[in-house]
């Protein structure tokens, strides 16, 4: 599904400007930037003379009515001087930024301009230079170019160049592999032309953002250099220079140092905020359009109104046994999962009811987005706010999971097997420890005992040399081994139920069989129940006793696995079964598919949600949503389907 996302739409930068101004960040940044630039242009014209006016009668004064920020050693007004210094401070910063960007662009695109070999050399040099802080580079360059304005512009500009070069390298590397560049190269377009016509327009956006932020940085660096006495030299003055002069008098006239400092912060913020705002507008533009359907990514835990004091231990008295029979491991009634989205509250699971008996294997099948994974995570109490779980009944091993804290119960008697074994173990911790920690916590085993048990469980899931393997990290295990280790993790306690969410989807076909066999073996050995979530009907038919078919957040059919091929009554179930290719499937004909698309839970119409795709749908199906009665939720269960539906639909 994510692969099908539409490419981010490109719009000219001018069309984005209003969007930037609509955010508070953008407005603040733009207003500050305008203020700084206007001051830079106007202040020297308006107050240039006043800032230079020497008043020997008012030397080194503190703030007064005549001189709000006091005066310097020649009696010149410090407020005016701070305002007038805006022009030089900003101009020098922009000059240094321009130099940094130009040199950075040349270095960063060296691989395009000079070819790969020279490019690699430049890249290596840039990588070394980038590791050194800008100020250190600036100081070194200041040695070479000498102190003063020109030297400082060169020093700050060149010291900023490696960072821009690195940025350009990253951006260009992202663009350089694209097809149209290869096409342009094949067409014999020159390197410089490719750079100017094809690459720069593509990396322009991020570059503009970073140039803006870079200008803020250059401004601060310049203030720093001048403050050290290495930048602007008297009689010229910028903010850094004014701060240096003012610092000695901080007891007498704090504003002499603080006012130019404040100006530096304001100007720096103006550039940074504007850059940030542009950056945010750009990135919002590129990720808009991602649908909220990705149910698998949503996880949550406790119903907020269902109490359950955090940290409260599961005491027998808190666990009121329900009237459900002792043979039920899991009893779920009217399970609802609600997910808040920007478009309102969506219910990807809408009233699911089922039970799992001791030792029973129940499969849950359905398309992506049918709510099967959310159902599994909800019964395992692994969903977290803001996703909420409500139910009329949710009990595991006879205890009500909707109230109280059942950490130890769930930690020892409920085992989880997740879809992707590659990402389900903590990459920085050893496997043995990852298996052992739950047992140490819940069963009070010592470190030694827990490790021994972990090694024993690894052996029981057929991992060779388990003692050595326990000391290894997940990346040293193969995919199938990791999934078996995950089952071993579930066996650390004494599980009554294994919830396996697509346990074989991420695995090789040859390894899938091993994992399924292992699950079957574990079940037989200890009469463990299994809730197997899968989109693969044949796996479920093979492993399970009973099958729940889910569609649009509901169970639409609940039937014995053996009856899948022959006695399925819901048109959706029958379509799912028909879509599974067999050995005898005629490969000359197109494979059967279910016409139409799965329903978006955010966009449910009235009536049976399958009606738009159902060959049997009539007026009633489109008006009323059928309840699950006698194991099927359909107004026309078991009726003959029009022949060859799938083929027609694809033809």
């Amino acid at each position: 599904m994510p692969a099908r996302l539409p490419a981010p739409t490109r719009r000219p930068a001018s069309a984005r400007l209003p969007a930037i101004l609509r955010t508070p960040l953008g407005v603040t940044g733009a207003a500050l930037l305008a203020l700084v630039l206007v001051t830079a242009v106007l202040a020297p014209l308006l107050w240039g003379d006043a800032a230079e006016a020497v008043d020997t009668a008012a030397m080194l004064q503190g703030p007064s009515a005549d001189h709000w920020a006091g005066t310097d050693n020649l009696g010149r007004d410090l407020l005016f001087r701070t305002l007038v210094a805006t022009r030089l401070s900003v101009a020098l910063a922009l000059a240094a930024t321009a130099l940094a960007v130009t040199v950075g662009l040349l270095l960063g695109t060296a691989s395009l301009l000079l070819g790969p070999r020279a490019g690699r050399l430049v890249t290596a040099g840039v990588n070394i230079a980038v590791a050194f802080p800008g100020l250190l580079l600036a100081l070194s360059f200041a040695v070479i170019f000498g102190v003063g304005q020109v030297g400082s512009v060169l020093a700050i500009g060149l010291s900023g160049a490696p960072a821009f070069a690195r940025l350009c390298q990253t951006l260009v590397a992202g663009v350089a592999t694209r097809d149209y560049l290869a096409a342009a190269r094949l067409a014999g377009v020159g390197r410089l032309r490719i750079l100017l016509r094809h690459v720069l327009p593509d990396v322009g956006g991020p570059l503009v953002v970073n140039v803006t932020i870079g200008a803020g940085g250059a401004l601060l660096s310049f203030a720093g250099l001048s403050f050290l006495g290495l930048g602007v030299q008297a009689p010229a003055y910028d903010w850094g220079r004014l701060m240096q002069d003012g610092l000695d008098r901080i007891y007498l006239d704090p504003l002499a140092a603080l006012l130019p400092g404040f100006a530096v912060v304001v100007a720096g913020l103006a550039f940074n905020l504007t850059g940030e705002a542009v950056a945010r507008t750009f990135s919002i533009d590129s990720i808009s359009g991602v649908s909220l359907l990705a149910g698998g990514a949503l996880r949550t835990r406790r119903r907020p109104d269902a109490g359950g004091l955090p940290g409260q231990d599961a005491t027998p008295s808190a666990d009121v046994p329900l009237d459900a029979g002792p043979d039920l491991v899991l009893d779920v009634a009217d399970l609802v999962v609600t997910v808040p989205t920007p478009a309102g509250r969506v219910r990807p699971v809408r009233g699911v009811t089922f039970q799992v008996a001791r030792g029973e294997a129940v499969g849950v099948v359905g398309e992506s987005g049918s709510g099967k994974t959310l159902t599994a995570l909800a019964v395992a109490r692994l969903l977290e706010p803001p996703t909420t779980v409500t139910a009329r009944r949710l009990s595991f091993q006879g205890r009500d999971l909707l109230t109280g804290d059942h950490r130890t119960l769930l930690g020892t008697e409920l085992a989880m097997v997740f879809q992707d074994p590659a990402s389900s173990f903590n990459p920085v911790r050893r496997m043995g420890g990852q298996l052992a920690e739950g047992a140490r916590h819940h069963l009070g085993l010592s470190r030694r005992q827990a490790r021994d048990r972990a090694v024993d469980r690894l052996r029981s899931v057929r991992i060779g040399d388990p003692d050595r393997r326990a000391g290894q990290y997940p990346h040293e295990f193969s995919g199938g081994m990791r999934q078996r280790a995950m089952i071993g993790l579930g066996l650390m306690g004494s599980p009554a139920l294994i919830v396996a969410d697509e346990p074989t989807t991420a695995l090789d076909v040859t390894v899938q069989r091993q994992v399924l066999d292992l699950l079957a073996e574990v079940r037989e050995r200890d009469a463990v129940a299994l809730l197997l979530i899968s989109h693969d009907v044949s796996v479920v038919a093979d492993v399970c006793d009973r099958v729940l078919v889910m569609y649009a957040g509901r169970v639409v059919e609940d039937l014995p696995a053996a009856g899948l091929a022959t006695s399925a009554r819901h048109p959706y179930t029958r379509a799912l079964v028909a879509a599974v290719p067999h050995l005898e499937t005629d490969l000359d004909r197109p494979l059967a598919v279910i016409p139409g698309r799965p329903v978006d839970p955010a966009d449910l119409a009235a009536g049976c949600p399958f009606a738009p795709r159902c060959p049997l749908a009539d007026a009633r199906c489109r008006a009323e949503d059928p309840e699950l009665v006698d194991g099927v939720a359909c107004w026309r269960p078991g009726e003959d389907l029009p022949s060859a539906v799938p083929e027609e639909a694809t033809a």
């Binding site: 601060l220 996880r299 930690g411 992707d420 389900s424 903590n426 911790r429 193969s478």
Partner: protein
């Protein structure tokens, strides 16, 4: 998804583990040596890149021609460039950084005398920044994930952006004014007892702490959504064990890479902050020597700062390798 890339079909034999560390050590020290060589060469070339005659520039236009010639000879500047380079490298290996133009003292002695004050300052500031940023970043991430506590998030975001934007030397001036001038609680100049450390360390630590806290929060948020944290929760461990035992180590390894760059900047930032607080460290030495065109002293101090940054970066990589076994496999 950092994990999905290399899925080794067969696990390497465990006997390879020491070799992996050896390979990591060889590769990393190779990179360090190349960087060091570039740094040393740059420091050597610095004096030769000065336009005109650096000795004339240093001694001023009034110095006699004999003095300039004598100084050139004592510096070996009359030798061919490669001879000077070889001499420079040889002297460097014996710890000889040359003699200051101004004080006529060995540069190495001046640095040895000044370095401890700067190193203490940088180290303390880094410790403060990490000790504040990591807990704050983790706590804010846990409190604000999945759109919870939006006000906390807004408050944290705006405060940290603001603190990260203020350059250290401006913050230093503001701190001097508030705590030194207005409140009179703390000394504002010189190194004299524990109290004199407070303001310089604060000035250096606040910015990096704000940036680091933001990085830790972002990394922590990403890690909290990973499959392995879900597995940890499926083990029904207490939240503290999930957050600190499973999420934090992964978030910290990612934060460390950027944190190392911050630490490098912090080392350089001491120059400015020392200037504000008249700190008797290397920072004032480097500024004075640049202004006085005391080139041997400049070369030596810049070299020391550069080596400091390289050492910091190497330490960060080693720490990464210890924390995350995957990082020793090799980088592309």
């Amino acid at each position: 998804m950092p994990l999905t890339t290399p899925t080794p079909t067969a696990a390497p034999p465990a006997g390879l583990a020491p070799h992996r560390w050896l390979r990591f050590a060889v590769r990393r020290s190779g990179r360090l040596l190349v960087s060091l060589w570039v740094l040393v060469t740059a420091a050597f070339l610095m004096i030769h890149l000065v336009p005109g005659d650096p000795v004339r520039a240093s001694l001023g236009p009034t110095a006699s021609a004999e003095l300039v010639a004598a100084r050139r000879e004592s510096l070996g500047l009359d030798q061919p460039l490669w001879v000077q380079y070889a001499t420079y490298l040889r002297d460097l290996l014996t710890g000889d950084l040359g003699t200051s133009f101004g004080s006529q003292l060995p540069v190495a002695d001046t640095i040895a005398q000044r370095l401890p004050a700067t190193a203490t300052l940088a180290l303390l500031a880094f410790l403060v920044a990490v000790l504040v940023a990591v807990p704050v970043g983790v706590a804010v991430a846990v409190a604000t994930r999945r759109g919870r506590a939006p006000r906390t998030e807004l408050g944290f975001a705006s405060t940290s952006v603001f603190l990260a934007t203020i350059p250290d030397f401006l913050l230093a001036v503001a701190l001097v004014w508030v705590f030194g001038v207005t409140l009179g609680w703390l000394p504002i100049a010189g190194q004299d007892g524990a109290a004199s450390f407070v303001l310089p360390v604060l000035a250096l630590a606040v910015g990096p702490a704000a940036v680091l806290a933001r990085i830790v929060r972002v990394e922590m948020l990403a890690v909290l959504e990973t499959d392995y944290v879900r597995t940890a929760r499926a083990k029904r461990l207490p939240p503290a064990a999930v957050h600190l035992g499973h999420a934090l180590p992964n978030a910290v390894t990612a934060s460390l890479t950027l944190g190392g760059l911050l630490l490098g900047q912090l080392v350089a930032g001491t120059v400015l902050v020392e200037s504000v607080f008249a700190w008797p460290g290397l920072g004032s030495t480097v500024v004075e020597s640049i202004l006085a065109k005391d080139y041997p002293l400049v070369q030596g101090t810049v070299l020391v700062y550069g080596v400091g940054v390289l050492v910091v970066n190497t330490m960060v990589d080693v720490a990464l390798a210890v924390l995350d076994p995957r990082s020793t496999i090799g980088e592309s």
